[in-house]
């Protein structure tokens, strides 16, 4: 797998050196200098939040919420325990960037979380790691031990009078636990079923205490911002889309992998970085932000830049930055069938529209793919979708509907062909 890094999260990482992830190496490339800066210059919580806001860092977990703003919601003066949680439950099909972070540069995340803890007055943090990447979980535990031994975790860190403890917690095979309140339930040892919001985690989070949850890549971007200032980070990207971003590129490209590039890079350039189309085939479509993002046809995609605003304007979303590339031989019906099965399989079952609706979506797409589709099925899909979206506790329902809507918007004729001819438009 290729990893192209010219940015923040992987700054200075040597992917060929098996020890590059270790604390000693991280410190050599400037690691923990952000934390030291806080200690040496006695930066205040307000100053750090101001830098975070200036940086225009937007959450890397999918929703793109401004991180500085989120941090300012934490009731810092609230007496009593507050928690910091990292979301490494990466399970959105197409996304494999957070695995690369905790595998290759775990201390960037640890340092980011310590800084977050200091800024929000949280003294305990948990990193919730996807169960399937268990070796990475083990490595992250080792990295925590290194940080503890070096005095970056524990009591009175760098003499700042600030305490912070960090622990790794693993999931065990449930996509829904990536949703932040399901994650909290799971961390409490329960089924991962999302909570109603409000109350938001900032007021009622882990064990009912104020809690901030951010994605792995979000936290791992923080040391750079504190070390170099928010302005510098902002300038790496474009206004309202600060910094670099990791794109996980999968599908029909020559070099699948993670690419850390400035936000706002033209899609065509990113595709080029990933080695272009496999076997010289033509690009047909791209899912630009993880499986939940509506698909975009090649011509629209080739005119997009890779940032939150451009992709949203094109009718999709940047989401987690997972770019799924499909060539001219891809059958869209079959592609959607597999995605719909995923949401059906992973619905937590709590809300009726999602539990039942995802089954309907899958079964109808399945019958179209297998030659039993009916002419009214496409409208049926849209109507089932309309009865799921916006009617559930969490966004998994919407996530299941958006791929269906996107496919029917841009590739409806292919579905119609399937229904009429009981076979694929493309050979596969």
């Amino acid at each position: 797998m290729a990893t192209f890094a010219k940015g923040v999260v992987f700054e200075g990482v040597d992917f060929d050196d098996p020890n590059s992830w270790r604390l000693e190496e991280y410190v050599k490339r400037g690691g923990y200098a952000g934390l030291r800066r806080i200690a040496d210059e006695k930066l205040t919580q307000d100053q750090i939040i101001a830098e975070m806001k200036l940086s225009a860092l937007r959450g890397r977990g999918g929703a793109g919420f401004p991180t500085g703003l989120k941090w300012s919601f934490m009731p810092r003066s609230f007496p009593g325990q507050k928690y910091l949680v990292c979301n490494t439950d990466e399970g959105e099909p197409g996304t494999f960037k957070d695995l690369d972070i905790i595998w290759n540069n775990p201390h960037a995340l640890i340092e980011g979380m310590i800084i977050g803890g200091f800024t929000m007055g949280a003294t305990v943090g948990y990193n919730y790691i996807h169960g399937e990447v268990f070796e990475a979980y083990e490595r992250f535990e080792e990295a925590i031990e290194e940080a503890r031994a070096a005095g970056f975790l524990g009591a009175n860190i760098l003499g700042c009078g600030f305490d912070f403890q960090l622990h790794a917690h693993h999931g065990y095979g449930a996509y829904i636990c990536g949703e932040e309140t399901a994650l909290l339930e799971s961390l409490e040892g329960k089924k991962g079923q999302p909570r109603f919001k409000p109350p938001f985690p900032a007021s009622f989070g882990l064990y009912g205490k104020p809690t901030t949850i951010n994605n792995t890549e979000t936290y791992a971007s923080v040391p750079y911002i504190v070390r170099n200032g928010g302005q510098k980070f902002l300038e790496l990207g474009k206004p309202n889309n600060g910094g670099t971003k990791l794109f996980s590129i999968s599908g029909h490209v020559n070099r699948p992998g993670n690419y850390e590039v400035p936000l706002g890079m033209p899609f065509a350039e990113l595709l080029e970085l990933a080695g272009g189309m496999r076997n010289g085939k033509k690009l047909k479509a791209v899912i630009p932000g993880g499986s939940s993002a509506p698909v975009l046809p090649a011509d629209i995609m080739m005119n997009c830049t890779m940032d939150f605003d451009s992709i949203a304007k094109a009718g999709s979303m940047l989401g987690s930055g997972a770019v799924i590339v499909m060539d001219e031989d891809t059958c869209m019906v079959r592609a959607l069938e597999r995605l719909s099965y995923f949401y059906f399989e992973e619905s937590c079952g709590q809300c009726t529209p999602c539990r039942e609706g995802t089954g309907w979506l899958y079964r109808v797409i399945h019958r179209i793919e297998h030659g039993h589709g009916r002419p009214e099925d496409l409208d049926l899909l849209l109507s089932v979708g309309a009865n799921i979206a916006g009617r559930t506790i969490c966004a998994l329902g919407d996530a299941a509907v958006m791929p269906v809507q996107g496919m029917l918007k841009h590739f409806r004729s292919e579905f119609e062909y399937h229904i009429e001819n009981k076979r694929c438009l493309v050979d596969h």
Binding site: M1, E90, G91, E92, P93, G94, T95, F96, D98, L99, Y126, H130, G131, E132, V133, F134, E135, H167, A168, H169, H170, G171, Y172, G173, A174, Y175, S186, L187, E188, G189, K190, K191, G192, Y207, S248, I249, S250, G251, H252, P256, G257, N258, S291, A322, I324, V325, M326, T330, A335, R338, L339, F342, E345, E346, C348
Partner: protein
Amino acid sequence: MLSKESLAKIDRELTKYPAEQKRSALMSALRIAQLEHGWLSNDVVEAVADYLGLPPIAAMEVATFYGMFNRQPVGKFKLTVCTNLPCALSGGADAGKYLQQKLGIGYGETTADGKFTLQEGECMGACGYAPVMLFNNHTMCNHMTPEAIDKKLAELE
């Protein structure tokens, strides 16, 4: 029901959480118990609940909600292959078919000699290495072409 080693591992997990939040260690505790017994029978689930001072139903809920827990006996080697779309575009579904053929079993089945269990998995967050296969809930095997699968299976005794 649980060995001294397993209990020691569970005790270590318990140190991560506040003393009154033992339930948080449930997921790890069940994983550790599964490691010892191969799968989670009702008795094992109950033993874990007992150890953490929880009602058995609390442990049962977790054991049945999360996909990586084995609620039935599995083979010595559990192979979970990802067939989700990003992997399928790079041979994930084909890898699954090849494994079925080679082992002579379908998804969710175990070979007659009790050696292999094959499962169809969802995205493991490793799509860039497709086709991928998770070995015994622990080790990620990347780039599982037919040749790589042959090699891996030959290694497993």
